[in-house]
């Protein structure tokens, strides 16, 4: 049976953080019940697809998934399980949560409802930084939440950190890393703060109230994270992700390895049978469509060969293990050398890709992933046989 990953989007937040440009909304809590019902309808609409697949992972992302009552999460997990042709042994069911999650009760409920893996948006252990990021939780909550999740019995507990904040010092970042290690999670993600167009943070930068961090300092911070986390027993397996052996995210691996996934919920993205699609973004419109018995998909397209190759390469290169060029040929029927030989050679010469049979970024190249992806894209566009062009 073909494998499938399932992503479920929960678009609610108590406060929308100033740096966030995800499909998330504050102040829509009154829609929660109808939203869960709509999600269950979308699962039902997808019954045929799910019935023919082995579901390997379910991931709840947001927004803030724990804004939904644990019972609703359980009901959605149960519905997907029931519709799936099969559940893989030890299937991963992950959920993103706020460290401010209300008490141990909710954690236990989520665990009992089938969530195996939980990841907390800790972001920082510093009160000023948390305030800058509009996060409502305290440094104490950041420090305590891993233990609470362990107590509730999750198989894997992860935390997210954000670095490269305006005004953040190298030492300040190191302190965050040390406290993260001290909390002893199984998985740590480190994301550089990105100033996304159209966010309140971007407006503050525009007005000159906030000066973005120096790029070279941010690069130093990334390198420091790698050194410190590796020394503490976390192995880097993706550009922004470190894990104790065996605790890597299986769900995300599907994204990086061209695997198929069903996206459910407002603004969720999916990739099924070679087609990429996106659900209706606004929760209210999404709910209305499903209540009216219509489908949730707002847009879909089938990537052309060049786009597919470019996506495939860009995503694989996010993995520290890189890829075997044979896998590229198996997927596209074209040897990697023929599709991108000169650029790959250029990357190796510049020391951005490691030498050796596998194609993978060097430690320095890990911070140049976009540059590599862009140059690959430009090369594929310019040198593709005419038939493959969009």
């Amino acid at each position: 049976m073909k494998p499938l990953a399932v992503y479920v989007h929960i678009p609610f937040c108590t406060v929308k953080c100033g740096y966030c440009d995800f499909n998330a909304y504050a102040g829509l809590h009154t829609l929660r019940e109808r939203y869960t019902a709509a999600l269950l309808r979308e699962v039902a609409q997808r019954a045929e697809l799910l019935g023919g697949r082995e579901v390997r992972s379910i991931a709840f992302g947001g927004g803030t998934p724990n804004e939904l009552p644990a019972a609703d999460i359980s009901a959605i997990v149960a519905a997907i399980r029931a519709a799936a042709g099969a559940m893989a042994a030890g299937a991963e069911v992950s959920l993103e949560a706020n460290p401010g999650i209300t008490g141990a009760g909710q954690l236990h409920e989520l665990r009992r409802g089938g969530v195996t893996r939980i990841s907390f948006g800790v972001q920082s252990f510093d009160a000023d930084e948390l305030r800058f990021l509009d996060r409502l939780h305290s440094p104490e909550a950041s420090a305590a939440v891993v233990g609470a999740a362990r107590h509730a019995g999750f198989e894997s507990v992860g935390i997210d950190l954000i670095y490269g904040l305006p005004g953040q010092s190298f030492a300040g970042w190191e302190a965050n890393l040390r406290r993260a290690v001290a909390a002893a999670p199984d998985h740590i993600s480190c994301y550089a703060l990105t100033i996304e167009e159209g966010t309140p943070l971007a407006a503050r930068v525009e007005r000159g109230e906030v000066t973005p961090a120096d790029g070279d300092l941010v690069a130093d911070m990334y390198e420091r994270a790698g050194d410190l986390l590796e020394a503490a027993g976390y192995r880097q397996y993706e550009l922004s992700n470190w894990a104790r052996p065996g605790h890597e995210s299986r769900h995300n691996r599907t994204y990086w390895t061209d695997g198929e996934y069903l996206g459910l919920g407002a603004g969720a993205h999916g990739y099924v049978d070679g087609v990429r699609y996106e659900d209706i973004a606004h929760p209210r419109t999404y709910i209305e469509a499903l209540e009216a018995g219509r489908g949730a998909v707002a847009a879909h397209y089938r990537p052309d060969d060049i786009t597919a190759m470019s996506d495939w390469l860009a995503l694989r290169l996010r993995l520290i293990e890189g890829f075997d060029p044979g896998d590229f040929k198996a997927r596209f029927g074209t040897p990697l050398e023929a599709a991108a030989g000169p650029v790959i050679a250029r990357f190796r010469e510049a020391g951005v890709l490691d030498a050796g049979p596998r194609a993978r970024l060097s430690p320095r190249g890990r911070q140049l992933h976009s540059e590599v992806a862009v140059q690959l894209l430009v090369h594929l566009r310019e040198h593709a046989p005419a038939a493959a062009r969009p």
Binding site: L239, R276, A314, R346, L368, E371
Partner: protein
């Protein structure tokens, strides 16, 4: 029309002194064009001309005018290019006239280019009618400017007409003065045909349309014509005049202005200044003054996307159809690939051609720094013309380099004399003379206008001289120049190496004494303009293999998207697409991506 009632005239004016508006008023007042049909400023028909407020191509219009004496006159207005780049075209337009309106802004006074054109007109014995325009402006000083015209050009006060073309003031007086003061064309209607070409343009249906002034004889029958300089012969398709659109007529009489549709395919066959005569009864000698317009400024034009080379070739060919002074030939650069070396009359001409290629033909272009043409004598006794710094032979093979010099006229209020002197001196200029256009005793301190004349190497005024002149005189100074000849010079080529590869398109030729400083400035500018690459990139400047300056662009540290959220590959791809779009505007030289602005850095070496 009876030859005695024909008046041929042009308008001499500085940019923005109101030439086009006045021309429009004349067309309106004579009923040539109804007000309703009047798109503002009819004669400047190219968009670029309207934007820049200048006339690039000459145009013409015939107006019928009943004078105060009750007689009907045929007034032929020849609109002349208004920029010093087109001095030769101006001289041919003037040659087609017996008179000229000298239009001067009553708030500004006479400017250097205008004065140069006035002298040209006087040399050709044109009758000048001075017009003080824009007297409606609150800061107009008609008394002062009239006094200046009296003193500098020698007009009598009662010759000067005060006007406001915008408000329609003085237009009737101007028309009456044209009829009364400008002499009718001389010329013998029975003599063999001589017609002067003062402009030409390409028409898809009629071939090259020559704008002409008939000096002797008349053009009417469909008989073979002959161009005396290019020796091309053709049978005319049509004769006509302009109102200001082309209007076919049976004939063009002696002294008249109009057009000949030649059916020729190439404007280069039909050059400005050439004389048209009959093949069967040719004139014994052509009209004087013909010369082939010679490009003064050269630059490489390359497509940023090498796939557009053919498109660029076609676009240049189409532009050249209408522009005999645009010369181009294929050129290849190690750095930029295939493109064209183009020759222009001047910088404005270069700018116009570049903009038209991009706008009208949708091309994305890279233009290299402009250069003059150097005369090089090699040690083996060969004479080489070098219009591209990259082509300058190795110093060991050079016996002598000569560069073109220009005489420049600057008019400025006297309080800026010091600044102008200093600027010209830093440009290796040599002072010739100075003349007060107004007696200093009658003016407020520092207000009297002064004419300064210098000899300056053309290369020194090519790029930013005019801007700097304007900047150092609060915008008051005006400039005119013309090439006077070649002089030996102590010049060297500065090469630039990017990542150890010599980039030919970044080379520059400069005076030996300036090489060190300009090399250093160029390298530091390039360091700022070339984005960080995936590896360290050394930038070096060298003279004859000796490194004179060096900087290093440190490798890029970070360009990565932190997160690929919730499987949203599409969004991530859009961000990459945006970056890919930016790379399109760069040229890859070796392994280094160089943005277009870097190739222009050579132009701004004096800013520091």
């Amino acid at each position: 029309m009876d030859q005695s009632r024909i008046r041929n005239f042009c308008i001499i004016a500085h940019i923005d002194h109101g030439k086009s508006t006045l021309a429009d008023r004349l067309l309106e007042r004579t009923g040539t064009v109804s007000q309703r049909d009047m798109a503002a400023q009819l004669l400047d028909s190219m968009d670029l001309e309207r934007e820049k407020g200048i006339t690039i191509k000459a145009a013409a219009a015939r107006m019928m005018y009943r004078g105060p004496d009750g007689e009907e006159y045929e007034l032929n207005l020849i609109d002349t290019p208004g920029h010093v780049d087109f001095a030769y075209e101006v001289s041919r337009s003037l040659a087609a006239c017996e008179g000229a309106l000298l239009v001067v802004d009553a708030s500004q006074g006479i400017e250097a280019q205008t004065l140069a054109n006035v002298y040209l007109a006087m040399n050709q014995d044109l009758t000048l009618i001075p017009v003080l325009n824009k007297i409606d402006l609150p800061h107009a000083e008609p008394e002062r400017v009239a006094a200046e015209l009296e003193r500098v050009i020698g007009f009598a006060r009662d010759e000067i007409i005060v006007a406001s073309a915008k408000e329609g003031i003085g237009v009737d007086e101007i028309l009456a003065a044209i009829a009364a003061r400008i002499p009718p064309p001389k010329g013998d209607p029975k003599a063999p045909v001589k017609a002067l070409i003062f402009d030409s343009k390409y028409d898809a249906y009629k071939g090259v349309v020559a704008h002409v002034r008939v000096f002797d004889g008349h053009l009417g029958r469909r008989e073979q014509l002959r161009l005396m300089a290019t020796e091309v012969e053709f049978e005319p398709l049509e004769y006509g005049t302009f109102n200001p659109q082309m209007r076919p007529l049976g004939e063009l009489g002696c002294g008249e202005v109009g057009y000949v549709a030649t059916g020729l395919k190439d404007v280069a066959d039909c050059r400005v200044g050439d004389t048209i005569t009959l093949k069967a009864h040719p004139a014994p000698e052509p009209l004087p003054g013909y010369r082939q317009a010679k490009p003064m400024v050269f630059a490489g034009i390359y497509p940023t996307d090498s796939d557009e080379y053919q498109d660029l070739r076609e676009a240049l060919a189409k532009l050249a159809l209408n522009d005999a002074s645009l010369v181009y030939e294929p050129e290849s650069s190690a750095a930029l690939g295939f493109g064209f070396r183009c020759g222009f009359l001047g910088l404005l001409h270069l700018e116009i051609v570049g903009e038209r290629l991009e706008r009208e033909y949708g091309l994305s272009l890279l233009t290299t720094a402009p250069s003059v043409e150097y005369h090089v004598k090699t040690t083996r006794g060969e004479d080489v013309l070098v219009d591209n710094p990259a082509d300058l032979p190795d110093p060991s093979r050079i016996e002598l380099i000569e560069e073109p010099w220009a005489k420049i006229d600057v008019i400025t209020p006297s309080r800026y004399i010091g600044q102008v002197m200093e600027l010209v001196t830093t440009r290796r200029g040599q002072f010739l003379r100075m003349e007060y256009l107004e007696p200093e005793s009658e003016m407020a301190q520092g207000e009297a206008r002064v004419l300064l004349e210098y000899d300056v190497p053309m290369a020194e005024i090519l790029v930013d001289f005019y801007d700097q002149l304007k900047g150092s005189t609060s915008g008051y100074a005006s400039l005119d120049y013309h090439i006077t000849g070649y002089r030996a010079a102590n010049l060297v080529k500065v090469d630039v190496l990017v990542n150890s590869i010599a980039v030919d398109a970044l080379s520059l030729i400069t005076h030996t004494a300036n090489a060190q400083r300009e090399g250093r400035v160029l390298v530091s500018k390039l360091k700022d303009l070339i984005p960080r690459q995936m590896f360290d990139v050394p930038i070096q400047a060298a003279v004859g293999g000796r490194i004179i300056s060096r900087e290093t662009i440190r490798a890029m540290r970070k360009n990565v998207l932190a997160k690929c959220y919730g499987g949203d590959i599409t969004r991530k791809r859009k961000l990459l697409e945006k970056q890919a779009e930016g790379k399109k505007r760069m040229k890859r030289v070796g392994n280094v991506e160089i943005p277009q602005e870097a190739f222009m850095a050579v132009l701004r070496l004096r800013e520091e």
